[in-house]
């Protein structure tokens, strides 16, 4: 009797859960079912809109040609480096800032927080413009400063190696608020009682961080990192496009830029879709890592 009751109670819980999630899921299916399908479907065709509006089925040819292209690996390496560097920087600095910010009381937190947040919400174009205004060889502010103070100028976007780091710096500046906000919200939602209990037990700040805050925030850590890493492979396009256009040469050539070029410049939808599938696969690997972390620690 109790078992049946518990089972049907369990089912009711399921249904409530589904009802809660239903509107969201319905919207997502409506918006994404076709694009996801389109992406995979088109990768098996050759569709170059300048040539003809009819697509021709070519099976795996798109994949073969990309895998044989050395530029594919170049773009992949650039993007991976970018993802690692920027996510690491943003994570560490973001965490530090979030911890610091959480200790501030009153209106100052709002003001400082607001100041920190602006970079992320500016339009992509302005980010790119800011990047140019800071790092450009001629009109760049940073070189003007260093030149007048120390007499040196840095090849921010003109050197092969430094160009990628410049993109990392600009992206970190832009997306740091993302980590700060998410970490901050997680920190402040830790119930005060637990913190007070720890204080009563005589825990130092470091111990608090290690035993209270970090376990608490692991789910948030994981999702934020995964999302930013995925973004690096799929979305970080505007900044690169405006500041370096993949240059000098191919030094900052990244996957989203390639896809943009293929899809919206040359209108090679087949190849663009194939690149998209590759970005998808890489992101899936990241997602798998996320699920693994989640399983282990939750």
């Amino acid at each position: 009797m109790h078992k049946a009751r518990a089972r049907s109670a369990g089912r009711r819980l399921e249904k409530t859960g589904i009802l809660l999630a239903a509107p969201a899921l319905a919207l997502l299916v409506l918006l994404f079912a076709y694009p996801i399908f389109f992406n995979f479907y088109m990768s098996f065709f050759r569709l170059n809109l300048y040539v003809s509006t009819e697509k021709t089925f070519i099976g795996f040819d798109n994949y073969v040609s990309i895998l044989q292209d050395s530029l594919f690996y170049g773009a992949l390496m650039n993007t991976t480096f970018f993802a690692l560097a920027s996510v690491a920087l943003e994570f560490i600095i973001g965490l530090v800032l979030a911890l610091l910010l959480s200790k501030i009381k009153g209106i100052w937190m709002g003001i400082l927080g607001a100041a920190l947040m602006i970079p992320m919400f500016l339009s992509e174009i302005i980010e790119g413009v800011v990047g140019q205004l800071l790092f450009s060889p001629r009109i760049g502010l940073i070189n003007a400063f260093t030149k007048s103070l120390f007499g040196v100028e840095f090849p921010w976007i003109t050197s092969k190696t430094l160009a990628m780091w410049t993109i990392v710096i600009v992206d970190t500046w832009k997306m740091l608020p993302f980590f700060i906000l998410i970490f901050l919200a997680a920190i402040v939602s830790i119930p005060k009682d637990m913190e007070e209990a720890m204080n009563l037990d005589g825990a130092s700040t470091l111990q608090q961080v290690r035993y209270l805050i970090i376990p608490y925030m692991l789910p948030v850590f994981a999702i934020a990192t995964v999302m930013r890493a995925i973004d690096a492979f799929t979305k970080v396009f505007g900044v690169v496009y405006v500041i370096t256009f993949g240059g000098p040469g191919l030094a900052t050539d990244v996957v989203p830029l390639r896809i943009f070029n293929l899809a919206l410049r040359a209108f090679h939808w087949g190849s663009a879709a194939t690149w998209g599938v590759f970005a998808f696969l890489i992101s899936t690997i990241l997602v798998a890592m996320y699920i693994f972390v989640k399983r282990r620690w939750t």
């Binding site: 109670a9 319905a26 809109l49 001629r138 256009f245 000098p248 191919l250 293929l262």
Partner: protein, 478 residues
Amino acid sequence: MKSYINHSNIFISRGRDMKKSTMGMISTPILIVLIVGVAVVAFVSAWYLKPAPPPPAPERPKEIVLTYLCEAGPEPEVMLKAFDKYSDLHPDVRFDPDVTPRDIARMKVMSEITEKRGTYDIYFTWLQDTLWMADAGAIDPLDKYIQNISSYLEKYPDFLLTSIQKDGHTYSLPVYWNSLCMFYRTDLFEDSAEKAAFKAKYGYDLRPPETWQEWIDTAEFFTRPPDLYGYCINGKAWAFYWDEYGVSGLQSAGLSPFADFENNRVNINGTAGVELLETLAELTKYSPPGWEAGDWFTFGDQLFAEGKLAMWHNWYYPWPTFQNPEKSNVVGKVGVSVTPSVSEEGPHMGQLSGGGITISAISSEWDRQAAAEFIIWLLKPENQKELALTGELFIPANLDILEDPDVNAFLKPQPFIELVQTRGQTFFRPSVELNEVQNLWVSESAEALMKIVRGEMTAKEAADWLATHMEKVLRERA
């Protein structure tokens, strides 16, 4: 220290809750299927129940709205002033302009062509795109609506007309055109002391360079850092390709057409092609620092206007800026010459660029009619003249207008026209296929230059590397 987080996952529900539940009958998997199914069905039905196009109106609507697609930029936007004027004169016709960034405009055109929905009535179409759009069925021939269009176009130069005419039909009304040329400092090149010094050093007379060797020599001669450099190579990939390398370099090397679409071969790694890359790489030595990230707008144009460059090769558009005392230190000191070539005989080729108004083939009949009337109005010389006087970058296509003294004074196109008519600067118009694939080797050509400059490869190796990539792109085309 024990963890303060409880990881229990079990809920305990109470009697009160069970009474309030009403979902006893439906099981969970069915619920999920229902929700997903509804979403998919909604979407699919919307997809298939496309609204039918409205039947053609029997008589002309009282008010016609012409939707205009154009890219953001001075040339297309000059049309906006024409629209206002026309609407003042003909209150029953309004215009709805859609000014979008270039890449998005391209996407919208593509979407129009593939979907055939008729969102736009008129386009501002670049010359090199006109015939391709005609082939794709996107635009209607103008002579369908304008009976004696050839009489209007008598005064238009031939090189413009061949871009827009096919099989006896005219597809576009050209409103503006432009090409590449070499700006140079007359005060430097015509100074007698400089001339003497140059002759002493190089053994021939100083003149704006007409061959690549002359280009290198003059650039070297005039490189006197930090205030003067001989030339400025564009480092940004798109600027490099669409100025020095692909569009004028390869053509002036005599390699045109450099892409063979039948056999998927390119000829850019032969002697002339390698020499071109060597020349351009050599010129980077005489370019101001920071050239690696420079492009026309933020770098080259500014530097030349400040007087820091002896030569600058670009499209003709910055000429008015160079003559503007507020923005330029070289007013009155700028001459215009041809694109240097592989040899004395030429070809000195720059790409012809320009745009015109075209009528969409997909919009409604009355809209097309109204658009044609607008174009006829636009073709009248007095309107062309007025347009020329509004925009600083507007080189009208009608040669008579160009020779009008007011227009002449305003635009000062003379050096450029003279160049075209006397010095043999010719124009190259890319084929549609070339237009498409060029986008796929822009970054790589800049990379080839970088490889040579960094010493990673010789010019021949870089040319081979680039050629391999280009041929791969060609193979993967249709």
